[in-house]
Subunit: 380 residues, 2 copies
């Protein structure tokens, strides 16, 4: 396998960005990433943009960045769109078709713009009323019933991620909360209260990927892409009567691909920290198990025992996660790679994970249908 | 560059497929392509699906094909979506991340289904009333004025493509027409009558790409991907007051990339035939010039002199083109690769191009914003 490197990353603040449309956000994140990498837009050979709803065609980046006469492709894969854009950029560099690639994830959800016609109608899921909170609440109820945990355990995920996010200048919500706040919040879909749910957020993030030669030439050959995986299911699991609801097999498959490529067999020992898809508090606990950080039915212990706290043995979502950093759908996966890169290069200030050498990023998208995993490591 | 091969292709009939939804069409084209390639679905390492409107996320192919635990990515790039899917599949095989890849293009336009919520509202172009016929008619009027040609010349493009399509069992319209029919048809946007416009069509097409090793092992190393290009513009040219309307620079750029990769300097001599994006009769003539088949302002001579007829020196759209084969947006680019592969392997019956060794496929998408070009050659 050809070794490819992350050489720069950028990210807008996430939140309620009423003054910035998708174009402005993509531009801001991209030029930050280019500046960080020390390359010019004209040095980029190939571009990918991941977005579920806010972008039509690759020409979006043509507009946003003033790119012309270069290949730009839009990829869409539900909540995995941003990380898939990064993955395609890595594949393009591996193929030799590009020496340097830019991947951008972007989503405008807080209001309707010319390019983002609003969130609601985009998928039959929402048209039929089977909203994400309702669907993931089924998983939460089933898990709580099966393994005997209460809402307090879920709440601790939110408390941890808000605590981390409070240290993150780019996060949507920078406010610590207590278990009591989570438990007393209005219920969205039992057992989820408002604080069990990730918010509706605007944002964009961008990552520059380069071949080993280029990265070495720029003095930027620190962080390489050690492995990645993407898996889809042959059904929409959460609508399938046979679905077990106590985990997402698609995550396990994507992780299996990434671990194989990265030659990792004991993730909890060989990886320093992870950014996982905590769209709901319950999801983070399921992710622990699906990603092999805990045995089946024991993921909740990691949160109860403080293992995944910023100061714990295996920090999860040091960024604040979807819960606190926010969740602009197509941006989230690219934002996670931004975070992992920032952590590995020691730039995270108050939320810095100590001695981080390897980080994992993970998305799950749709009704349990798609998952991406990517692993970055410091070059030894 | 790692040489990659097309080893199989499939295509549904194009037309008014009221009994088949996007899933059924994608399945039909895919399994045809797999059978043609002599491989099983389980042999495919990576999947791409191109669609503008009928597909949400890579899990669409999970559903359609019963794929699970494999990477599937949806790409979207206006009318270039299908060819971009083929291009991504080629890049993935070049990268070594896949030995065999399947690319599918699909679009359901004739009626609304659960997965295709209808055509009209998908882009601001249509919301604002600047429809494709209106926009491309601006180009036609400008070209006719500048170079002094009449509607009769445009009509001859439609007559040629219908003549070819009448020989194509998969074409939407299999009926020869006359210049008189074209000229007397109701006007859609002057100078375009109904017969100057490509139809609204359902359809899917699929292509199997493999590494040289795999292709040789299967005895299928006949047709290789010799070059490709994809370019976007930094504006939406057809809305730009400075746009000249007598050609699409984005096509010239995409072709330049492909010619460079394929080491082609005299396209008209080195290429045997082409499938070009004749969304309107005028577009085909502009394509001749933009692709370097004719000098600026002289493309119309190729049609007047019969050069691009099936029996001419340089056949263009032997399939019948978008005009007669039909234009299911995201499917069209993959359908072109199906046609070029079918021609190069001598399977086209009545519409077979004689002594074809190299074929070019071309899309233009959006308001002049994106173009793809791909060149396939017989292995010498």
């Amino acid at each position: 396998m050809k070794e490819v490197y992350v050489i720069g990353a950028g990210c807008t603040p996430f939140g309620d960005l009423h003054t910035r449309d998708a174009v402005a956000m993509a531009r801001e994140a991209s030029f930050q990433a280019l500046e960080d990498a020390g390359v010019d837009i004209s040095d980029i050979d190939i571009f990918y943009v991941g977005s579920v709803r806010s972008v039509t065609s690759g020409s979006f980046l043509g507009n946003a960045l003033g790119v012309r006469n270069k290949p730009v492709t839009r990829v869409e894969n539900f909540c995995a769109s941003g990380m898939d854009a990064v993955r395609q950029a890595a594949i393009a560099v591996m193929s030799g078709q590009a020496r340097i690639a830019l991947a951008v994830g972007v989503e405008k959800l807080r209001d309707a713009t010319r390019r983002g016609l609003g969130f609601r109608s985009f998928h039959p899921v929402f048209v039929f009323g089977a909203t994400p909170p309702g669907l993931f609440a089924l998983a939460a109820n089933r898990y709580m019933h099966t393994y005997g945990i209460g809402r307090e355990t879920l709440a601790k995920v939110a408390v941890k991620n808000h605590r981390n996010g409070a240290k993150n200048p780019l996060a949507h919500f920078r406010k610590e909360i207590t278990v009591e706040t989570v438990l007393k919040a209005p219920i969205v879909a039992y057992p989820f209260g408002v604080f069990d749910c990730s918010p509706v957020t605007d944002g964009a993030s961008a990552v520059v990927i380069a071949s080993r030669d280029v990265a070495e030439g720029l003095g930027k050959a620190q962080v390489f892409i050690r492995g990645f995986g993407l898996a889809v299911m042959h059904t929409e699991p959460m609508y399938d009567p046979s679905f077990k609801y106590t985990g997402f097999p698609v995550t396990t498959e994507a992780a299996g691909q990434a671990y194989k490529m990265a030659d990792i067999s004991r993730p909890l020992e060989e990886i320093s920290f992870a950014e996982v898809h905590d769209c709901f508090t319950m999801t983070e606990i399921l992710n622990y198990e699906d990603l092999g950080f805990a045995e089946k039915g024991e993921g909740w212990k990691l949160i109860e025992e403080g293992v995944t706290e910023l100061e714990g043995k295996f920090p999860v979502n040091p960024s604040g996660g979807l819960k606190s950093f926010g969740h602009p759908i197509g941006a989230t996966g690219a934002r996670m790679i931004f975070e992992v890169y920032s952590q590995l290069t020691g730039r995270c200030g108050e939320r810095q994970v100590k001695n981080a050498h390897t980080g994992l990023a993970h998305n799950i998208g749709g009704p349990g249908t798609v998952s991406t995993v990517m692993i970055l490591s410091l070059r030894s």
